[in-house]
């Protein structure tokens, strides 16, 4: 019974998702909004479940189901943030989905199932659980990307995502099998204990394949080929969903594997992760400059940001993992604002494909232009936004670990990157508007929540101590 109590949030979400799947059959096409609202409500209900179950952040980890599942401070924070991010993405998307005729029950059901997959990853204590959660997340995401099945771009994106994703899963599994061969266990705690005694070459061999698999899921150079095509091809609502919570799940996977499982073997994987991280930060920012399509630009921005996150992990220190944790949360919150704005604009009749489509946004809707400005500043890491503190903590952890030169490279790449973020702001504020229609003010619920989200980016940027403290305390307790 204790085991079941520990995975209660997962059970609640699964039950509600199944109920929603069946209940949706009895809802007429006009009333799909009700299913949708129910989906959002079930995410929030699961958040309540997660929080009510959680002990203090520094409580010792509790294991369940024969060490397959772990419940600790990190899993609690990760799950809460994932669920809220998914719920926000769904709230922003409704009008867009109605407009693009994607407002069927499958969208929200698949979104809930993918969130369930993320939760499974967040509390994985065994390579088997981590892999199953990852597949649950990925399979739902492939289907979501392909949901607009008559759209050529979306189908192409889904095919690329699926084929490369399957390849990445294969790489990950191959690495896992080698690790199993070397250590004789799939249990992350046991692997961690036997790290000191195992064959180093076999260990490094397996870890490289696992790193490749995780790097694919994070979408970092050189495993980033799918990111721009999928971000551009998928319906914007799906891109919004994809860019927020799954990134936290990818961090969760990296944390569980490299933090809890392989931290003792840090010398074997540090260089690989550092090279991947530096390449992503540099190439992501450079290639983003050349983009004219805003979703592609944000995709390369995601590549660069995930590279930044990996920089924290590449230190192999507890502080580095804590910084990466904070970075994942901060990126998800800022990214939600940027993509949420695109979705909300599209729902109000202003389709945004190219960056020029944002021309003169300030004249047409000053408030939305301000939200765009906040999100771009946060992604670029300009104070006083949340993104600034996220980048700062990563840089601090790099300098503390004695990797000052990597911090310098990251700062230079970010400075170059600031150019394309500021260009978007410039287009929105100083270019003449192509259309004079005044966009309706943010008075609907999606707009209101988006405003709160944008304000949160600023407020958390003004007083980041609490959030940084939560992330650091959770990781510190888990990794000691």
């Amino acid at each position: 019974m204790k085991d079941i109590a520990l995975v209660l949030p997962e059970i609640v979400l699964l039950t509600l998702a199944c109920a929603l799947l069946v209940g949706d059959l009895f809802v007429s096409r006009e009333a799909k909004g009700r299913t949708y609202a129910l989906g959002i409500a079930s995410l929030f209900l699961t958040v309540i479940c997660v929080l009510s179950l959680a002990g203090p952040l520094d409580a010792p980890a509790q294991m369940a189901f024969a060490q397959l599942v772990v419940l600790d401070g990190v899993s609690t924070v990760l799950k809460a943030v994932m669920l809220v991010a998914s719920a926000l993405a769904l709230i922003y998307s409704w009008d867009y989905l109605v407009k693009h005729r994607l407002d069927n029950g499958e969208f929200v059901a698949l979104a809930l199932f993918s969130t369930l997959g993320m939760m499974v990853i967040a509390s994985a204590a065994n390579l088997l659980t981590a892999y199953l959660g990852l597949e649950l997340l990925s399979l739902s995401m492939y289907a979501l990307v392909a949901l607009k099945r008559d759209d050529r771009l979306a189908t192409e994106a889904a095919m690329k995502y699926f084929v490369l994703g399957a390849l990445a899963s294969g790489l990950l599994l191959f690495g896992v099998s080698i690790i199993y061969g070397a250590t004789g266990s799939l249990d992350l705690a046991t692997i961690s204990k036997s790290m000191a005694t195992v064959n180093r070459i076999a260990l490094a061999f397996g870890l490289i394949f696992i790193a490749a698999g995780v790097a694919f899921k994070l979408g970092v150079v050189p495993f980033h080929m799918w990111v721009p095509d999928v971000y551009q091809g998928a319906p914007t609502a799906v891109t919004l969903f994809l860019s927020a919570a799954p990134k936290i799940a990818a961090f969760a996977l990296a944390y569980r594997l490299f933090g809890e499982g392989f931290l003792a073997g840090v010398d074997e994987w540090r260089v690989v992760v550092a090279v991947i991280a530096l390449l992503s930060v540099v190439f992501g920012n450079l290639i983003a400059i050349a983009q004219t399509d805003i979703k592609r630009m944000l995709a390369y921005s995601a590549v660069a940001n995930m590279g930044f996150l990996l920089l924290g992990i590449s230190t192999g220190t507890v502080d580095g993992f804590a910084a990466a944790f904070f970075y994942a949360v901060a990126y998800a919150i800022s990214g939600l604002v940027a993509f949420g704005l695109l979705v909300v604009l599209s729902a109000r009749g202003q389709e945004v494909e190219r960056i020029e489509d944002l021309s003169g946004l300030n004249e047409r809707s000053p408030w939305l232009a301000l939200i765009l400005l906040i999100s771009m500043f946060s992604l670029a890491g300009i104070p006083p936004t949340l993104g600034f503190w996220a980048k700062l903590t990563i840089l601090e952890s790099l300098v503390d670990a004695g990797l000052t030169w990597m911090a310098v490279v990251a700062v230079v790449a970010s400075l170059i990157g600031a150019f394309y973020y500021l260009r978007v702001v410039k287009v929105a504020y100083f270019n003449p508007a192509t259309s004079q229609d005044v966009l309706p003010a943010a008075n609907d619920s999606a707009g209101a929540v988006l405003s709160i989200n944008a304000i949160a980016v600023i407020v958390l940027g003004m007083m980041p101590t609490a959030l940084v403290g939560v992330c650091a305390k959770a990781v510190l307790t888990a990794l000691r």
Binding site: E106, L110, E135, A143, S194
Partner: protein, 222 residues
């Protein structure tokens, strides 16, 4: 003199590798599918050598018996122009072969360095099971690994939902009747009574052309 089991292992491994190579190199997609069946059979034989008879039988039953038959159906039903696809494939072949060979040799070198002695691989120590392998697996799956089994179940559910969501299309061209809707019809949905201004009867001149029907009379007819 190697043991018989070792010899059998090498024979089936060789067949497995050759069959896998044939899957991606033969011209005819039906032949490729059949080679895949052969590859599954050899893999099942390897499992049999490891005394994992349940997995071996499951592989044959599930993959060879069900999945591959379905696969063959699909291959035969879809008219894929393989030659057209192969043209592109061939242009990448030299680079692909070069990179693939380099990676394979590197992996071989590293692995042969890594596992030189038997003791180098900790491996799962063989667990002696009383009675059938199947029973032991079943007990493990439904006690220790019940959480993983449940998640795998959800994974299958998602696969079904995704497959249906991506392929099911309502047939708009079929004209079927819904009796429930027909019975529930209200008078107001079918009949609209319009009040027309009464007109004074006028004498119709026989030599004048008939007046074209006006807008209001058109509406009244619907």
């Amino acid at each position: 003199m190697p043991e018989l089991a070792t010899l059998v292992f090498y024979v089936f491994s060789a067949i497995l590798i050759l069959a896998s190579a044939a899957v991606i190199s033969v011209r005819n997609p039906v032949h490729a599918a059949l080679f895949l069946v052969l590859a599954f059979f050899s893999a099942a034989a390897l499992w049999m050598l490891l005394k994992a008879e349940f997995l071996a039988i499951a592989l044959v039953l599930v993959y060879v018996g069900a999945v591959m038959v379905l696969f063959l159906f699909v291959v035969m039903m879809l008219d894929i122009n393989v030659e057209e696809m192969r043209k592109q494939f061939r242009s990448y072949l030299p680079v692909g072969l070069l990179v693939g060979a380099a990676v394979a040799i590197e992996m071989l070198l590293v692995l042969s360095l890594a596992f030189t002695k038997k003791s180098d691989s900790a491996g799962a120590q063989g667990i002696v099971v009383d009675g059938s392998n199947t029973k032991a697996l079943g007990i493990e799956l439904f006690t220790r690994y019940i959480y993983a089994v449940e998640i795998a179940g959800v994974l299958l559910l998602v696969a079904i939902v995704a497959a249906i969501a991506l392929t099911l299309r309502p047939r708009r061209e079929t004209k079927y009747q819904n009796p429930a809707e027909q019975v529930r019809v209200e008078r107001d949905q079918r009949l609209r009574i319009l009040k027309l201004a009464a007109e004074q009867p006028t004498a119709v001149r026989l030599d004048a052309p008939a007046a074209p029907p006006s807008e209001s009379s058109n509406e009244g007819r619907t």
